[in-house]
């Protein structure tokens, strides 16, 4: 294939600014969403440590809870919770983009796809809360 750029005159190539992600709100939310993956990873890690503590007797469990009461851990986990929440919302917002469902030839509205996802999220969260908090 002929490379069409071969015969072009001199051109000026611009570099993207290091701070491009501050130029628009949508770019900033994109970067924050990508950064939220770190906090999702942190939450998964913390859950695994908690499971390990529970399975290693009352003293390991008590030590875990003591560690979690530390102000630094409380602060980190509040931030992590907010980021995980943000991550989940962006994920559910994506579902109507990826799934096209037509009923009688008409594309169903976005809320009809993301709505059931949110409903399932709330139900599962309530179920887990019931299991954890009942006793």
């Amino acid at each position: 294939m002929i490379n069409p750029t071969e015969y072009l005159p001199k051109s000026y190539h611009r570099r993207m600014s290091t701070y491009w992600w501050l130029a628009r709100w949508s770019y900033l939310t994109f970067i924050l969403r990508e950064a939220s993956s770190v906090f999702v990873g942190w939450t998964v890690l913390l859950t695994l440590v908690q499971i390990w503590a529970v399975t290693h007797g009352p003293s390991a469990n008590a030590a875990f809870h003591e560690w979690m009461r530390h102000p630094l851990m409380l602060g980190v986990n509040v931030v992590a919770f907010l980021f995980v929440l943000f991550h989940a919302v962006t994920w559910f917002s994506l579902t109507p983009k990826a799934m096209v469902i037509r009923v009688k030839g008409q594309r169903v509205p976005d809320w009809a796809i993301s709505g059931p996802n949110y409903a399932a999220w709330v139900m599962v969260s309530l179920g887990i809360a019931w299991v954890v908090l009942r006793g």
């Binding site: 490379n3 051109s11 000026y12 190539h13 993207m16 770019y27 994109f30 983009k97 037509r102």
Partner: protein
């Protein structure tokens, strides 16, 4: 409303300049004028050397894509009065090499577009006297993606393309999806081979700005996410089903 408005236009002459500069011009501020009218006014009355692309003046040809106050816009569909009292900054589309003033080199896109195979692929053509019928419902499947006018505003809005020029980009993938969804087409697997990779659909990180700036409401971000779902399903089928059962 003021009677005049200042237009700051990015200028670059490859024979003379090391980097682009900015020239300011005052033009009449008329209610019915768009940015393209202001540029034509500058070219006709103030500076004949100003270079920019345009053709149809009605948002159909996709030639006059530019950055207007930092946002990718069609100059023919962007009213000056929305930016009053000004100034209005007009620059060439981001992420493309500048050839002169507001004209950018789009060769990279044209090569990527060819790789997307945006045409109907048939394993076996019907005889010339037979037609390929299509119902309105089948047309509706891909109609939105067929509205693309190749204006490349989506590329100027996409930071992923700006950071990694290997990325196929929004319009090329949306146009591939347009043909994948066409009931007459049989080339989806060919396109999947060339687009299901880190430089293709998996390079998209769903910033979503391509969809927001699209003047024809094509929704390239949606097309790419749908394509990802198809690619993942095909991969799963290839893993789970016995060979030849796809």
């Amino acid at each position: 409303m003021a009677s005049r408005i200042t237009i700051e236009v990015a200028r670059y002459n490859p024979a003379r300049d090391h980097e682009p500069g900015v020239s300011s011009y005052e033009v009449p501020l008329r209610k019915e004028w768009v940015v393209l009218d202001a540029l034509n006014c500058i070219k006709d009355h103030l500076d004949g050397s100003l270079t920019f692309r345009w053709s149809c003046r009605m948002g159909v040809c996709g030639s006059c894509g530019m950055m207007v106050n930092g946002v990718p816009k069609l100059a023919c569909a962007t009213f000056l009065s929305d930016y009053a009292p000004g100034p209005v900054r007009v620059e060439p589309m981001r992420h493309f090499p500048i050839l002169r003033d507001l004209v950018v080199d789009t060769s990279d896109f044209l090569m990527k577009l060819a790789r997307s195979k945006p045409w109907i692929i048939r394993k076996m053509e019907k005889p010339m006297d037979q037609e390929y019928f299509q119902t309105p419902a089948q047309l509706e499947e891909y109609r939105q993606f067929s509205m693309c006018i190749n204006c490349l505003l989506c590329y100027a809005a996409c930071p992923i393309y700006g950071l990694d020029s290997q990325f196929a980009g929004p319009a090329a993938i949306a146009l591939a999806q347009r043909y994948n969804l066409d009931s007459r087409d049989e080339g989806a697997s060919e396109r999947l081979d060339s687009l299901s990779n880190p430089e293709g659909i998996w390079g998209c990180m769903f910033v979503g700005e391509c969809t927001r700036v699209c003047p024809k409401h094509v929704d390239p971000a949606g097309a790419i996410q749908q394509y990802k779902l198809t690619a993942a399903t095909e991969w799963l089928k290839a893993m789970v089903l016995p060979r030849g059962a796809k």
